[in-house]
């Protein structure tokens, strides 16, 4: 692969959910650059918006969720060529802004350019179709797309309801060809499933979780995608199986040089797999950089807290250092105009009452943090007093939040 800039450049991505309770800012202002052939990790706790980010990249958001802002620049000369006429505004050299493309075109990118591995293999396979059939479908979809790359809509046009109904009558009208089925078996073998011929004919419930996750990897590889997005790929698996699946991803990455985006809450998985990492909190990437920089010299107090919360396998080290309080509300009207972490932050300063921009961290290229501590050391004199955020007017509105504040207080007491 040629090295001419990142394969994926996300700028100011904003995704919102318009729910009964109000507008939820699941993702706001996410910036990241992912290099060709690297493994990038997005790590965060539940509700940090990491999975929504992944879905936004693929354009798979369901109502009431919607991408409301930002740009996703994807480098593909071939794609840029084919869409230049239709949507010139979405093309910039070799880069295409995915958000500027019509849905019809974006759909065709799935599987061929981008693939996704989901968290729960059991619910991500259709329970009433054989695994082989489902992988063959993916193969077929990609072949149809590739056989006619110019016409981005060819795939959907080639297969409508009438063809579907005909497929019951005539086997030549079936969506999935024999070649695709054979390819599915090959893919299953490639991901280390023993006796793939027999297993291709089995249903998802006849697979173990680990085997099914391998099958999902096979399905994701069907279209030889450039970018693989793995959303919590091992969370549903036992630890010995998790190790196997991670090994598999590692091998595949080494063989194909594919770019992988791993979304996880597990810092161990990030450390095991990733070249670079972004830490998400409340819909923002609060710190990003090379793995060693972020893990060994974290700047943002949230990153520090996260790392301090993980019990270590190598000898117990006394008390854990948890982050006080709870994951914050993402409801638009409850989000304060300050650093979102300030209310849980042990080093909150007066400056933190203004939203910090993304600041470069000294001494490491590409290491940035959305925290003033990236630029200046912690200053005791401007530190906000304990309990500053308690009983604040913004928090009192919702009883759950008020109780959260109470918990912050009690935890603060404990950890002293």
């Amino acid at each position: 692969m040629t090295r001419n800039g990142p394969i994926l450049r996300v700028e100011g991505l904003e995704t919102r959910f318009f729910t009964e309770e109000g507008q939820v800012n699941a993702v706001h202002g996410v910036d990241m650059e992912i290099d060709d052939g690297e493994v990038f990790g997005v790590v965060g706790e539940s509700g940090s918006g990491k999975s929504v980010t992944a879905l936004s990249l693929l354009g798979l958001l369901e109502s009431p969720g919607r991408v409301t802002g930002g740009e996703i620049w994807y480098r593909s000369a071939e794609l840029a060529d084919s869409v230049a006429e239709e949507t010139p505004t979405a093309v910039d050299g070799d880069y295409v802004n995915l958000l500027g493309l019509p849905d019809r075109v974006r759909r065709t990118l799935r599987g061929t350019h981008f693939s996704m591995i989901f968290q729960d293999p059991m619910s991500s396979f259709n329970p009433s179709l054989t695994v082989g059939e489902q992988i063959a479908e993916a193969v077929e979809a990609q072949q149809r797309a590739r056989s006619n790359p110019r016409s981005v809509a060819s795939r959907t046009q080639g297969y409508g309801l009438s063809q579907y109904l005909m497929s019951f009558v005539s086997s030549s009208r079936k969506y999935v060809s024999e070649e695709s089925r054979d390819r599915a078996v090959e893919l299953l073998e490639m991901v280390g499933i023993p006796d793939p011929v027999l297993r291709a004919e089995e249903y998802p419930h006849e697979y173990s979780g680990g085997m099914l996750q391998r099958a999902m990897v096979a399905q994701a590889l069907a279209g030889e995608p450039n970018v693989l997005i793995a959303d919590e790929p091992t969370t549903a698996l036992d630890v010995t199986i998790q190790a196997q699946v991670l090994d598999l991803l590692d091998e595949i990455q080494a063989e194909t040089g594919m770019t992988i985006l791993i979304i996880t809450h597990n810092l161990g998985v990030v450390a095991r797999m990733c070249d670079r990492v972004g830490v998400m909190y409340a819909g923002e990437i609060v710190e990003r950089g090379a793995l060693a920089d972020v893990f060994d010299s974290p700047v943002h107090p949230y990153t520090q807290g996260l790392l301090g919360s993980v019990p270590d396998l190598g000898g117990s080290s006394g008390r854990l250092q948890p982050i006080a309080g709870n994951v914050p509300s993402l409801l638009d009207h409850e989000m304060p105009d300050r650093c979102y972490f300030a209310d849980r932050c042990p080093k909150a300063m007066e400056a933190c009452l203004r939203k910090p921009p993304e600041l470069p961290v000294d001494g490491a290229a590409g290491h940035t943090a959305k925290c003033y501590l990236a630029e200046e050391p912690f200053d005791e004199s401007t530190a906000l007093p304990d309990g500053y955020f308690e009983g604040g007017s913004t928090d009192a509105a919702d009883p759950a939040d008020a109780s959260g504040a109470a918990e912050v207080a009690s935890d603060g007491g404990e950890s002293e």
Binding site: V239, G268, A271, G315, N326, A400, S403, E407, D411
Partner: protein, 474 residues
């Protein structure tokens, strides 16, 4: 319920343990409806817990670790008599809890409590937090309504929630806060012993740390004894004094946490530890020995040592001269056959040979697929012969051929835990006399059968525990 030759009969610890589990068994029955009975179809047992024994000492935290489906939660529930055991006994302060009834049982219920995994389903959504926390007091008729409420306020304080939240409903709380409510409920009757069933696995790491710290504080404050059930080794390592490792309904290793984590004896424990990804920057380059394969179904557990199907250091038959990695491939091939996972029919169909004359191609295809290298001598002959049997569609014959030559002592003899501070259920480790006798008997028998083909002799592996050396799997 016989103690028989059980080795853990006399406790070697100075003090009487608080809880003593002996040969605890819990089977679930399948095909057991009225109709199955009418039609006389045999019910089958799923041995969720298959004869385990351990002690929990006063004031300690015992960790019970294992992967999903190993029976650790069933153990916890059976120990609290939330489920009736199939066999065995659990002594709490010297009394078998399965013999208790009436007031004695109620007394036990006061002393032993449980905290569950799921912060959503462990609290009744229709009860207020106050109702939930006072429920145990009400059941046991403790105090007046006012006193109970006062006690609930106090308990909320203990678990780090504010006392004015008594009237709230569980859904108004976050996961971590609900788990605190669950802990407060467990504390209400001032128990001696609490079973913590995955108390943090539904929580985010930062909240998990809060809850773990809280549990730690409470243990100190109230002199509690914990049984911590978890799949998360780092949590176990952080919290526990002693650890018991469970696999397919059996304990494979028990020992002090420090020893067990530093020097695991059982290959399964070792594999577990190896598999956990560490949150440190050198993780990528760490040498890992992970294990292959899946946990076998508890409906049809392997004979002998239940871990042998995945074990990287499974004991080879005496006198067999194949490298360990090749031996593993043979074992895997046999497992495929035995589980019906290798179907000669579909193989033939793939070969595009309607008359099925080209046995050679059939054999070569399988040979290449299943083995990295060809064997020589007798091994090559046996393996090829088994493929040929398969080509004829005779799976049984193929299995028998392989079994007669490659059967491991691990398939025949089920290892047990000896009575010492850090035992492991592995034939490569110290074993009770009865197990050793069984091993000797098997070896005698197998050398007799094998005498024609091989040189015979003792298994070399027992003396050389080389789990970490080059010929481990991969």
């Amino acid at each position: 319920m016989t103690d028989g030759s059980d080795t853990t009969d006399d406790a070697s610890t100075d003090a009487e343990p608080l809880v003593r589990v002996r040969n605890l068994e819990k089977y679930f029955w399948e095909n057991d409806s009225l109709f199955d009975r009418l039609f006389g179809e045999g019910k089958t047992a799923v041995k969720a817990v298959d004869g385990i024994s351990f002690d929990i000492r006063r004031g300690e935290t015992l960790g019970l670790v294992g992967e999903s489906g190993c029976g650790k939660s069933t153990t916890g529930e059976t120990m609290l008599r939330l489920q009736e055991p199939t066999g065995g006994r659990v002594e709490f302060e010297g009394e078998n809890i399965y013999d208790l009834d009436g007031a004695d049982l109620q007394a036990f219920r006061r002393e032993a409590q449980v905290v569950f995994q799921d912060p959503f389903s462990s609290l009744d959504p229709r009860m207020t937090v106050g109702d939930i926390i006072t429920q145990p007091l009400e059941i046991h008729g403790v105090g007046t309504a006012a006193e109970r409420e006062e006690r609930a306020r106090e308990l909320l304080g203990h678990v780090g929630l504010s006392a004015d939240q008594l009237d709230r409903y569980p859904h108004e709380f976050s996961g971590g806060q609900r788990q605190r409510v669950g802990i407060a409920r467990a504390l209400a009757l001032e128990p001696e012993f609490i079973v913590l069933d995955e108390p943090t696995s539904a929580l985010d790491v930062s909240v998990q740390a809060q809850v773990l710290n809280l549990l730690d504080d409470l243990q100190e404050e109230f002199d509690l004894t914990y049984l911590l059930i978890s799949h998360d080794l780092s949590v176990i390592n952080h919290v526990c004094d002693r650890v018991a490792v469970m696999y397919l309904g059996e304990l494979v290793e028990v020992g002090p946490a420090a020893d067990l984590f530093a020097e695991p004896k059982h290959p399964y424990t070792e594999a577990l530890l190896e598999s956990v990804p560490r949150a440190s920057t050198d993780e990528r380059d760490r040498e890992r020995q992970t294990i292959s394969g899946d946990v076998p179904s508890p409906r049809n557990p392997p004979s002998g040592c239940s871990f042998r199907t995945r074990c990287p250091v499974v004991i080879r038959p005496p006198g067999l001269d194949v490298p360990r990695s090749a031996y593993r491939e043979i074992v895997q091939y046999r497992t495929l056959l035995e589980n019906g996972r290798l179907d000669p029919e579909s193989r033939w169909e793939q070969l595009d040979d309607p008359d099925r004359t080209n046995t050679r191609a059939f054999v070569d295809g399988l040979y290449d697929e299943l083995f990295t290298e060809r064997f020589d001598g007798d091994d090559d002959a046996v393996v090829t012969e088994s493929f040929e049997a398969l080509a004829d569609g005779d799976v049984e014959e193929a299995i028998e051929l392989l079994r007669s030559r490659y059967e491991s002592v691990c398939e025949v003899v089920n290892p047990e835990l000896v009575d010492e501070p850090h035992p492991s259920a592995c034939l490569r480790d110290d074993q009770p006399g009865s197990v050793r006798t069984a091993v000797d008997e098997w070896e005698g028998a197998s050398t007799a059968v094998d005498a024609t083909g091989s040189t015979g002799g003792a298994d070399v592996d027992v003396a050389a525990p080389d789990g970490g050396t080059a010929d481990a799997d991969r």
